[in-house]
Amino acid sequence: MGAIRRYFRSPAAVLGLVLLLIVIGMALSAGYFYPRDPLALAGRPLIWPFANPRFLLGTDNSGRDIAAQIFHGARISLLIGGVATLIAVSIGVMVGALAGYYGGWIDNVLMRITEAFQTLPNFVLLLVLVAVFGSTLTTVTIAVGIVSWPAPARLTRAEFLSLRSREFVQAGRTLGMRDTQLILREILPNALPPVIVYAGVVMAVAILLESALAFLRLSDANVASWGNLIGLGRDVLRVQWYVSAIPGVAILITVLGVSLVGQGLNDALNPRLKQR
């Protein structure tokens, strides 16, 4: 309870929560406000925002409603960000847990692989994955998850290293618990909180990675994604700059919300660190 009170005492954390709730609200209400396909032609191309009450945020180069694409894009961004984070954290926790718990050659091998993933620029690896597996919504989400797991893995490993020789683990071992039981039931619940808090950072980066990929037209072109719209708007940047500007603000708000919430959770759960 103290953590929740501490969370709401920080204005930045509250602002982050509000921003995130707005984006989630947009994603949930997209079907209600804009029931039509957001990629369907809606009107004259390149209507400026607020010029026509039917298209509050104007239309893009081919006459599609920008507001509809923003609302539906919230779904895609949150979906890709959320699922990719889940994938990254799952792989990371598994690798980190095994490396930290067993140590020795298992740790050596797993950390070499982690290092390899960290040495290769993650966006370059993302390009390779997209080049090989194509760019549908599913493959892009999985690819973003695959390039994002090393940091959670290192974090989990560090937690496991410090926890594995604690008394409660030794007590469990004396009781004859098997390794899997010790890892899953004893150590993991204690190692998880910092990793879950870090997931906020992973999600922020995942959303940025996907939008960059979409901007380069290497993500799924058949869904309404903010990055796609920015890439499209680039062709008319000279005069109708709003086509690129509006979805960029949406990405900024989402990433800001996610990072502020992550940071707020971190400060609320580790009050001693807040002092600095």
Binding site: T119, L125, V132, S211, R238, V255
Partner: protein
């Protein structure tokens, strides 16, 4: 000498990592639909199966995958990255041509981010929890959340289209074909916006780390001693605190080298700079897998090189590290 041997050992330890990356990506690319020959045939406008077979034999693509891998690694030892069917040149030549703009861009973005991150971090730490700190931290958070390609596009709108102060893209102005100092200035003016765009997120990260690390060092005993000696605050910061507070920043340069190289893919595309990042993008679009693999190799090498340099810098800033080995 000790420093060199320490960093050298770290360098040697990165060879297995490099090998792992190469083998991993090589095998991954085997799963890609179509190979170099397919790309070539498409380039030539199609051809019969016999020509394709002939070409595959010529490029050594008709043998088993493990043998191809062994061949590739052996050629790498001799710095032969293969042949790019799209560019009609050896991959090494293509990459070497594209390397200077990327290196220039990364250096200038890094310098920008490092310098301003340091300055703003120090200002924020000195006025902790007062308005300069709040302002700097807030702006930093917004920068952190800004997609770089979008910032680049908006910078083009403001500075190139409306104000017409800076060029919107390209590496240099070919039409004027200037030489000497004018050419340097011309390239510099083309690099201002890309460097700001690429450096923005790192500026945000650096200033946050610098602020935290300043606050930590300012609480240490030797700072109290310096104050007790009667040193003025500026001298304490520049002579005593800064050197210690810089250590985490230097570590971060090594850790972020890969992220920065990845970021340059997007930034070079926005500003149509003929660099390595844009080459990576082009080779994905054109399915030039040989070039893509070469870029993977060179970018991993670059990251390892940056880490080597940061190791040296680190040991220079903190003599304890060299003494411990």
């Amino acid at each position: 000498m000790r420093i060199l041997s320490l960093a050298g050992r770290r360098l040697a330890a990165s060879i297995p990592t490099l090998l792992l990356i190469l083998i991993g990506v090589f095998l991954l690319l085997q799963l890609a639909p179509g190979d170099t020959v397919d790309a070539m045939m498409a380039q030539m406008g199609g051809g019969d199966a016999a020509t394709a077979r002939e070409l595959r034999r010529f490029y050594g693509l008709d043998v088993s995958v493990p043998l191809q891998l062994a061949n590739y690694l052996w050629r790498l030892v001799r710095l032969d990255l293969g042949f790019s069917a799209i560019y009609g040149k050896p991959v090494a030549a293509v990459i070497l041509e594209r390397l200077p703009p990327t290196l220039l861009l990364m250096t200038s973005a890094l310098s920008f981010a490092f310098f301003f991150g340091l300055v703003f971090g120090v200002i924020a730490a000195r006025g902790v929890n007062r308005w300069p700190d709040t302002l700097i931290s807030t702006v930093g958070l917004i920068f952190y959340a800004t997609p770089s390609f979008w910032f680049g596009l908006m910078a083009i709108v403001v500075f190139s289209i409306y104000l017409q102060w800076l060029p919107a893209g390209g590496f240099e102005d070919i039409s004027t074909a200037s030489t000497g100092l004018w050419r340097v200035l011309d390239i510099a003016s083309h690099l201002v916006l890309p460097s700001l765009t690429l450096g923005l997120i790192f500026l945000a990260i650096y200033l946050r780390i610098m602020r935290a690390s300043m606050l930590e060092v300012l609480n240490l005993d030797f700072v109290r001693t310096a104050r007790a000696k009667g040193l003025d605050e500026t001298r304490i910061i520049t002579r005593h605190v800064l050197r210690n507070a810089l250590l985490p920043m230097v570590t971060l340069i090594g850790l972020q080298a890969g992220t920065m190289l990845g970021g340059s893919v997007v930034v070079e595309t926005v500003f149509s700079l003929p660099g390595l990042g844009r080459l990576a993008y082009e080779s994905v679009v054109q399915r030039d897998l040989n070039t893509l693999l070469g870029i993977v190799f060179v970018s991993a090498l670059l990251v390892i090189a940056v880490n080597f340099i940061t190791d040296l810098l680190y040991a220079r800033l903190d003599p304890r590290i060299a003494a411990e080995s």
